[in-house]
Amino acid sequence: MSRVAQFLFRRKGGKGWHWTDIVTWVWLVGGLFIMFGPAVWLVGSSFKSPAALAEFPPTILPYVTQKVTVEGFDKPLDLYEVTLPDGSKGKLAEVRRIGVVGQMINPSNPGKVIKVNISQRTPVRAMSFASGNYTEPFTHFDFVRYLWNSVFVTVVATLITLVVNSMAAFALSKYEFRGRTIAMLLILATLMVPLSVIMVPLYSIVSALGLFNNLWGVILPTVATPTGVFILRQYMLTIPDELVDAARMDKASEWQIYWRIILPLTAPALAVLAIFSVVWRWNDFLWPLIVLSRKELYTLQVGLSIYSGELNVQWHFILAMTVVTMIPVVLVFIFLQRFITTGIAGTGLK
């Protein structure tokens, strides 16, 4: 507690409140709400039933009006806490509502209808997590397919990226050959050619290769990342050339040098690239949206956006699926937070 208090009331130089202390305090506390609030709100809402989602004012946690099944009525009735004219309180079920008067019955004695003004009743509510939001999309929306497609694209693209980029980086860092600088410049120049500039011709090429409506059409154009080649090359340059020469003396083939010597030594940089690649490919949206038009091929991101753009948005499912989509990235972040934040600060890459 004292640490908290000490933190809360820390001041610059300990000489009384400087205006910058107040700004810092307001900024961080405000940030706490603005940065985390939306995510908390999303997770809270994802457990609500459709009826609870339509309520206003909403509640942060998922509450549901209690219902009772009464003999003689097909549907379960809403349960209310009622103040009766004689001042006593009781729990009654509402049969129907006419204007401001609710016709209520006592669940244990359903014979007699009691008329109650609606201002005299409040719904009986209890917290209830609508776990169906999470389980039903698996049967409703081919959710498993989208999940599988996303996982497939992410894993395969990342593996290919690692192999292809590390091979290129090896060639560009450990060999002298004509055109090396041109190859490097070409790779770096493509950093300036984003997808939005080349999407029309890229689409025609992917179609010509028969990769339209094919997960490989999503994977292949993304794997030769210039950033990946760059990171790995910079790292490989720090590996002494003597290692390569010594291996050649021992009659190692060039492939063995790459595979047995260079790759294991590049492991830290490969790990960085793998993390970035997983996040990139998991989050990719525009390109899969263009290439995939058949429902069963959608990735999670495409599926989510299509369903959320429909006329009657089934928000209770969308919210739950959004939470599931967030999970891998949030896990990556929680475990590798320090690693990522310091890594980005060092390299300026995203």
């Binding site: 939005s196 080349i198 011709p201 937070q337 990522i340």
Partner: protein, 342 residues
């Protein structure tokens, strides 16, 4: 002794997983040795470079070049040989306006609406983004308890997918959303923010800042932490006021990082698409229709798609991006020169 030996021979889980990979790599080695004997070591360099350059060539360089060809053809056919040559027709269609300040007077009115929207978006978003991330970086650079927590707090939306970001905020800004709930407490009536032209525009600016601010904050924070502390101590000894120290020490020394951030934000702002597409879909009307979405819709989503027009628009956007990048290179050169003169 015995325990040691058995420890060495037993395989860990990782090694077992790697066994088939090792086996495959050994198999590949034989033909590759043969290849190496044929081509020599230099040839192997080409071999290593080839897969990456091939993918690069097919999926980046080739589209880049045939994009120019596309922009000079018309019709709805997808493949280049089936398309008819129209010369600069698509460009003149894009620029066919009687009054450039009024999109409605143009043949391609949505293009100019998108250009105008993107322009406003870039100006507003870049200014606010730089402001917010600079202030956040300055605050995080103070002597804070649990700094890594605060840093992570501002950073985590960066990793979220744009679709998730768009959906989170769509859910907050809708009629029964969190924002209306908060305002309801102050006596305001619920309002459908995303159905309002101005508010939905503001929402796209705000949401994109929320999502990416943490990234730029990190770069600026790294710059701030690289400034030697003794400079401030010396300034304090000389009785320099903090504002003056900020203007004379912090800003000049942060300039290189600030420049990188400004250009990165600019380049990304020009291409804004994903979050906005999910959040507003370009609407209401065309109030949040930005350039990338215009290209996407003209080329792919429209009833009568026009790949040539989309290609022409994308080339114009590419020109803007190249100019911005060259501007960055030029500016960073000149700032290096100035640094050298000191």
């Amino acid at each position: 002794m015995k325990a040691d030996v058995s420890g060495k021979t037993s395989l860990g889980l990782g090694e077992i997983i790697m066994l088939p990979v090792r086996f495959a790599m050994g198999l590949i080695d034989t033909p590759l040795r043969w290849l190496q004997r044929m081509t020599g070591i230099g040839g192997m360099a080409t071999f290593f470079l080839l897969p990456n350059m091939l993918i690069f060539g097919i999926f980046v360089l080739l589209p880049f070049f045939i994009n120019f060809a596309y922009s000079m053809t018309g019709g709805t056919a997808l493949f280049l040989p089936d398309r008819n040559f129209v010369g600069m027709g698509q460009y003149s269609r894009l620029f066919d306006c009687s009054n450039y300040l009024d999109p409605n007077s143009c043949a391609e009115d949505t293009f100019w609406t998108a250009v105008g929207n993107t322009g406003w978006f870039v100006v507003l978003q870049v200014t606010l983004m730089i402001g917010f991330s600079l202030v956040t970086a300055l605050i995080l650079n103070r002597d804070l308890t649990a700094r890594s927590f605060w840093r992570a707090m501002f950073f985590f939306p960066v990793l979220l997918s744009p679709v998730v970001v768009g959906l989170i905020w769509k859910w907050i800004l809708q009629r029964q959303g969190l924002l209306n709930f908060g305002l309801y407490g102050f006596g305001f009536e619920p309002y459908a923010w995303l159905n309002d032209r101005n508010w939905s525009f503001a929402a796209t600016v705000g949401v994109s800042i929320w999502a990416h601010m943490g990234f730029y904050t990190l770069i600026l924070l790294a710059g701030l932490q690289a400034i030697p502390k003794d400079l401030y101590e010396a300034a304090e000894m000389d009785g320099t006021r903090p504002t003056r120290a900020f203007l004379r020490i912090t800003l000049p020394l942060l300039a290189p990082n600030l420049l990188v951030v400004i250009v990165l934000v600019l380049i990304r702002a020009v291409q804004i698409f994903d979050e906005v597409y999910v959040l507003t879909g370009g609407g209401p009307g065309t109030s949040t229709l930005y350039l990338t979405q215009y290209i996407y819709e003209t080329g792919f989503a429209a009833q009568l798609r026009n790949p040539g027009l989309a290609a022409a628009a994308s080339i114009l956007m590419g020109v803007v991006l190249v100019v911005l990048t060259l501007l960055q290179l030029g500016l960073s050169r000149s700032s290096e020169k100035n640094g050298g003169r000191k």
